[in-house]
Structures are given as structure tokens and as C-alpha cells.
């Protein structure tokens, strides 16, 4: 069943698509090192770095492993490892 005019009524339902499976490299965040500069947050193409209890964490369901966060972290709080599947 397609809706009339193929209109999508569920905003942001792309979250059903878990893009984390695309990942080859995996960023690892050290919350203790994090200074909450918000660089990783604002530069993440996936919007998958989220603030929880005053700290940022990576939602691996969607992280595609581009590693922009690793590159942009000024305090080296994020490092990367090979994804293990």
C-alpha cells in the first residue's frame, strides 16, 4: 500500500534504517577526556552523537564510521578502531 501521492506521514522514520551496519571503522569516545566542546556533535553527518546525562555518546545504530568526530576532537577524546563484526 502506497499513500495518496506517496506522502510520508511519519517524520524522521529513517531511524528504521540502521546505518551503523555500514561502518568499517568505529569511533570510541572517552567520556572522561571529553570537554563538551560540541565539535563532534555539530559536525556529525548522522546526528548520532547525542547528549545523555550531560555527556556525549555515540549511537552506533547509525554511526557510519566516517571519523569526522575523531578528526575534529581537540582533546583526542575520540579514537578509532577497526570494526569487528
Amino acid at each position: 500500500m502506497v499513500t495518496i501521492g506517496a506522502i510520508i506521514y511519519e517524520p524522521g522514520n529513517s531511524i528504521n534504517n540502521k546505518t551503523g551496519s555500514w561502518r568499517v571503522f568505529k569511533p570510541i569516545m572517552d567520556k572522561d577526556k571529553c570537554v563538551m566542546c560540541e565539535n563532534c556533535f555539530i559536525f556529525c553527518p548522522e546526528g548520532c552523537i547525542k547528549e545523555k546525562d550531560g555527556k556525549f555518546e555515540i549511537d552506533y545504530d547509525y554511526c557510519k564510521g566516517c571519523l569526522i568526530c575523531v578528526e575534529e576532537c581537540p582533546v583526542n577524546a575520540i579514537t578509532s578502531i577497526r570494526e569487528e563484526k
Binding site: M1, V2, I4, G5, A6, I7, I8, Y9, P11
Partner: protein
């Protein structure tokens, strides 16, 4: 209170849009449509119509803005002709695919080259597969009435398709004749206020319109448009009836109109203003004891094939007139559409009135004579200058 005015077809179209209280008009001027948008601009400038008039820079943008406005939930009107309609081509599919009930007046005009501003129906016929309902009118009164009906048809929840009301360029657009303007309040009660349940752009209820139609949904989406077209047949009939009850005028059953068809062995099938001339000829011949009939196709899309077959059940010779030509087949589009459903009849095709070539009563008589004697499937160009 209704009142009668002596006005052109384009004025009748503009008056209809005003009566329907359209919210957004987006149009680009092109001969012979111009006086329609000029009049609408006047209405807006003088406060007679509370609408946004978008003075776009092309027909492509005209229809694109209509799509944007209609998708937002506004009642939307545009008008164009010929090259302008051709420029809209790709967006016409989008309007129907997105199920937006835009209403358009199209002044039927020939397509270039050579450039020609005069009447034929090649422009709208060339858009027959775009998913728009197409109505072809016979006179200026029908232009006005059809645009009012068009909004009611387009916005019907079982339809939700755009409608193109086609009137012959110059022959109707620039001809003045008496047109009854119905009472504004009555028209507004008849069409109601457009308040779409399916398409709107509202930050409180965010929806996504015009997504990527992946192969797993595209066919279904197109099939739905076809189903909506099927539904439109009944809605057009109902709206025509309801309109007749309220305003005292009707156009056949809304889909087709028959004239003197019961006892006629030879029946002409045609669309648009030429049908008036054909009726005159039929009446004249009747005085000499000869019976000929006319089947006027009012809605070309959806093409009411069952109604057409039924109307022609007693006919032997069916002469199909086309103000367009499918080059490479030497047939008009109406003929190619109908030949398949009229296999048990002798059908002949007449290419008439291209690029403003006048169609005289004698031409109609010639067609009738030819249709009676011709072989099945013959095509004849009428009024072609011989060397």
C-alpha cells in the same frame, strides 16, 4: 444574484476562478491566454479576489509554484497555452503524481514550428498521459461552468487529481458572447473550502511530499492515479448533475454529450468549439430529411470508453475529428484512442483545423459525405491547400 455578461472565454475563466475564491494564482502570459491572467491580476489588484498572484518568470515556474502552493493546502489556479503548456510538461506529471487538485485553463493553440498562435488542440492532446483530467468545452458558458465544476471534481477525496479545462484559442478565448455569471455565494457553497486531509505543509504535522519513488512503490503509486481517474468518471457525472440542479445548466452526462444520435447511421465524434458548428450542420441537414449525429467528448481524460461505446451502439459510420496529428501514424489522438473500442464500426479520421485553419460548415458536410463512402480506417486532412 446571477447576471449575464457579454464576455470572452478567457474572461469567463477568470470570473470562474474568482467565483471559486482561489487562494493562489500562478501564471505566465502567453497568447491567447493573456486576458485571463490580466483579469485575475485586476481582480487581485482591486480587492475583488483575496489571493496571492505569483508573477512567475516562466510557465515551468508557474506550475511549479502551483504545486508548492497546492501542496501547502491552498486552492490553486493557473492558465496557459501551447508552448507554455509544453514547457510545463514534466511538472504536469508531478502535480498528478503528488495528487494535487490544481485547476488550469488551457487556451488550445498550435505548437511550433512554424510558430503559430492560432487554434488547434495539439498542446493539450500532447499532455494526455500526464494524469490530468482533461475537459474540452464548446462555448464560453461551459468554460465558466467547467472551471467551477473542475475544482469540485479535483478536490473530491476519491479523485484528488489536477484538472485542465481546455477552450479553443481565439475561437472562444477572444470571442464575446453571453455568459451567465452565477451568484458568488452560491458558487462558494457549491465548491466549498479546500481543506486537504492528504497534502499540507504544516510544522505541527510534518510530512514529506515528493519522496523518491523506489521500484517497490512506484508502480502502485501510478496505479493509484489510474484508480483515481477511474473514480473521476462517476464524480464528473455527479458534479454535472449537482451543478445542473443548482445552476440549471448541464453538459451531457458530464463525460459525453450526444446530439441527434438516435436515428443516425453516421455519427461525428469531436471535441471543443467545433461541436457548435457541427450541431448547426446537423440541424440544416435534418431539414432536408437527413439524420446525422454528433458525439461530443467532453472529458478526454478519463476517456469514458463505456459511455462512448454505448452512445455509438446504433452507428455504422463513425467519423472522428482530430485537431491534432500523431505524426508518423497519420492519425489523430482521439482516433487512435477510439479505434480499438469501436472495432465493429467503420471508423474514419479527419485531421481538421490545425494552426487556426478555419472549419466551415461545408467542411463538416464534406466529412459526412466522405465518412459514408470511405473505407474503414481512412484518414483525410480537411481544407488542405492543393498545389
Amino acid at each position: 444574484m446571477s447576471k449575464v455578461k457579454i464576455i470572452t472565454g478567457t474572461s469567463a475563466a477568470a470570473e470562474a476562478a474568482r467565483l471559486c475564491d482561489v487562494d493562489v494564482v500562478s501564471a505566465y502570459p502567453i497568447t491567447p491566454q493573456t486576458t485571463c491572467v490580466e483579469k485575475l491580476a485586476d481582480f487581485v489588484a482591486n480587492g475583488e479576489l483575496d489571493a496571492e498572484f505569483i508573477k512567475v518568470e516562466s510557465e515551468h515556474s508557474a506550475i511549479s509554484a502551483c504545486v508548492g502552493a497546492s501542496a501547502t493546502g491552498a486552492r490553486t489556479f493557473t492558465a496557459t497555452s501551447s508552448q507554455g503548456l509544453a514547457l510545463m510538461h514534466e511538472v504536469l506529471f508531478i502535480a498528478s503524481g503528488m495528487r494535487l487538485p490544481i485547476v488550469m485553463m488551457n487556451a488550445n493553440r498550435a505548437l511550433s514550428a512554424p510558430i503559430n498562435i492560432w487554434n488547434d488542440q495539439q498542446d493539450s492532446i500532447s499532455q494526455r498521459d500526464t494524469g490530468w483530467i482533461q475537459i474540452y468545452v464548446e462555448d464560453n458558458q461551459e468554460t465558466l461552468d467547467s472551471i467551477i465544476q473542475a475544482f469540485k471534481i479535483a478536490e473530491n477525496e476519491n479523485v484528488l487529481l489536477p484538472v485542465m479545462v481546455n477552450l479553443d484559442g481565439f475561437i472562444l478565448t477572444h470571442t464575446v458572447e453571453p455568459v451567465e455569471l452565477p451568484d458568488e455565494e452560491e458558487v462558494r457553497n457549491f465548491v466549498g473550502i479546500y481543506n486537504p486531509k492528504h497534502a499540507y505543509l504544516d510544522p505541527d504535522k510534518p510530512i514529506t511530499q515528493g519522496p523518491v519513488g523506489v521500484p517497490s512503490c512506484y508502480m502502485e503509486s501510478k496505479h493509484d492515479v489510474q484508480l483515481a481517474m477511474d473514480n473521476a468518471e462517476k464524480v464528473i457525472i455527479d458534479v454535472n448533475e449537482e451543478f445542473a440542479k443548482k445552476f440549471g445548466r448541464k453538459y451531457g452526462n458530464g463525460l459525453i454529450e450526444t446530439y441527434n444520435i438516435e436515428n443516425a447511421e453516421t455519427v461525428i465524434v469531436a471535441m471543443g468549439s467545433i461541436c457548435g458548428t457541427i450541431k448547426e450542420v446537423i440541424d440544416n441537414l435534418k431539414q432536408n430529411g437527413k439524420e446525422y449525429g454528433l458525439l461530443r467528448i467532453r472529458t478526454y481524460r478519463p476517456l469514458p470508453t463505456n459511455h462512448i461505446r454505448e452512445a455509438l451502439k446504433n452507428a455504422k459510420n463513425v467519423a472522428i475529428l482530430d485537431k491534432n496529428i500523431t505524426i508518423g501514424l497519420n492519425k489523430g489522438a482521439l482516433y487512435t484512442d477510439l479505434a480499438g473500442i469501436l472495432k465493429d464500426k467503420k471508423t474514419t479520421n479527419y485531421i481538421v483545423g490545425l494552426g487556426g485553419r478555419d472549419i466551415k460548415p461545408e467542411d463538416i458536410e464534406e466529412i459526412i459525405k466522405h465518412a459514408e463512402k470511405a473505407e474503414d480506417g481512412e484518414t483525410k486532412w480537411i481544407g488542405l491547400n492543393k498545389q
